[in-house]
Symmetry: C2
Subunit: 265 residues, 2 copies
DNA sequence: AAGTACACTGTACATCGTACAGAGTAACTG
DNA sequence: CAGTTACTCTGTACGATGTACAGTGTACTT
């Protein structure tokens, strides 16, 4: 039997924001700490948690598991990190910080924007869990800041206003993250139960055919069949990304042209 | 202290797919059932769960809670539904089924597509939890089918191929759902802890100002400030939706024009 | 009247984040 | 040097969750 429950979106940034910021920026108040020397470091904890998440998904990242990975009892982690949410914040910001940022200055804007999309896609491929961490109240750490600065530079000089630049970037990043999340879910479902995509469709097809007559749902049946045939399966995340990215680029083109037209007069 | 853990995306469709389909289509094998009469109905269970989810969010939807709402012991629910995932499937498909579907035939395509977006936006406003339920392996019930059929009709007759129609619809729906999810998360964060958005920023501002010098992140500081000033807060879901929808429409326009151009010759 | 399939109940388990209280250690204070 | 204090690390414990499993009683079929 598979777990069939809601897909949890993990929240970040729960506790004291100031403390969280200090952690993100590694602003350890260098008071000569008294007691025993610390056996670990924040970075070690973050690295261990990230390793677990990369290898086995976010669900496997439990305080118990991370502690075990570090040869320590679970509660020990709480001397490094206020709680699990903050740990996720740190993981995410660290992942942002590690992203390679290719310099595309001088290249045409479509290539620049595509590079941003690809960099984010690569992030979510290396760290699928990152796509499923909620970023309401994002981790305002050095990683996110460097990422934001870098990505804005790809949208600079196109005649967009500051707010428009932010809007466009948000739009693009939401798109890439949504694709990554969908891909991660698709992968999770595939590996989850004993049931492959194929088996699932084979199990559903007969009953579905009986109940889904072409008279009631003519377009749905036709288009669903066409789409299913085009990409091999019910849903092809890679195709959705490729298609969607072209749409986003077209949309930006229209916006830029409009601004140029307005600016030209 | 707030919960700071990952935001769970609930999964659907875990158990036997055939059984799930039977439930979705209410294909109760009408074998003369033997034992005592059932005190409840699937619809009652789904309605109770939906009411809880609407009022208190998906986290409040536990088997214990739904059972209590129905004056029944938790395990009783399992005689109506194989598990929680299937319950979520049923909730979602029922919500799809209830969506009002405005007839926009004859109207210009931008208005038709906008109507689709608005209908989905309204769904997620009435049922915020619906945006957070994962739909890898969506609930292939009558609600989804009716929704799919209806939405395809808005994209019909524009010169798009069948696969393109599906791609466009997927792109649009992913966009709306992502906005709704972000809005739901923003709302959750607001109501979650004792901390309002304002308090959070006020708590963060001093430390952030100290660490975020304009030399290192010139664009980020400038654009971030501009965006924050434009909409009142750090993130304005309503604005992101309005902006993004125009982009999606522009993108569809480009695709349609291209097809017309190709078709014209 | 006997048998059977089913609805419903109660208890129980593993898992999670983390509160809380204790034990030991190193630096500061005198 | 001794005493205090702040800190690290540990062990135990709690409430919550989905649901497996083993009853208990009911209404239909034979």
């Amino acid at each position: 039997m598979r777990e069939n429950s809601p897909v949890p979106t993990e929240r970040t940034s729960a506790g004291d924001p100031a403390r969280t910021l200090q952690l993100l920026w590694r602003d350890a108040s260098p008071d000569r700490r008294r007691g025993p020397r610390r056996g670990l470091s924040i970075d070690a904890v973050v690295a261990a948690a990230t390793a677990v998440a990369d290898a086995e998904g976010l669900d496997a990242v439990t305080m118990r598991r991370v502690a075990q990975e570090l040869g320590v009892v679970p509660m020990t982690l709480y001397t490094y990190v206020p709680g699990k949410s903050e740990l996720l914040d740190l993981m995410l910001d660290a992942a942002y910080a590690r992203m390679p940022r290719t310099d595309t200055s001088g290249q045409p804007w479509r290539r620049r924007v595509t590079a941003i999309a690809e960099e984010n896609k690569a992030l979510f491929e290396r760290h699928p869990w990152a796509a499923t961490v909620s970023t309401a109240r994002p981790p305002l750490g050095p990683g996110l800041m460097a990422k934001y600065e870098h990505e804005l530079s790809a949208l600079d000089g196109l005649g967009l206003g500051d707010v428009e630049m932010d809007d466009c970037l948000t739009h693009l990043l939401m798109f890439v993250q949504t694709c990554a999340r969908a891909a991660a879910e698709a992968r999770a479902v595939r590996n989850d139960g004993a049931m492959s995509d194929q088996q699932w469709w084979e199990a559903n097809a007969p009953l579905l055919a009986r109940v889904l007559d072409e008279k009631s749902y003519p377009r749905a049946v036709r288009v669903g069949a066409a789409a299913g045939a085009a990409h091999g399966s019910a849903y092809d995340p890679e195709h959705a990304y490729a298609f969607g990215l072209q749409r986003v680029l077209d949309a930006f083109a229209a916006l830029i042209d409009r601004n140029e037209g307005a600016g030209a007069h």
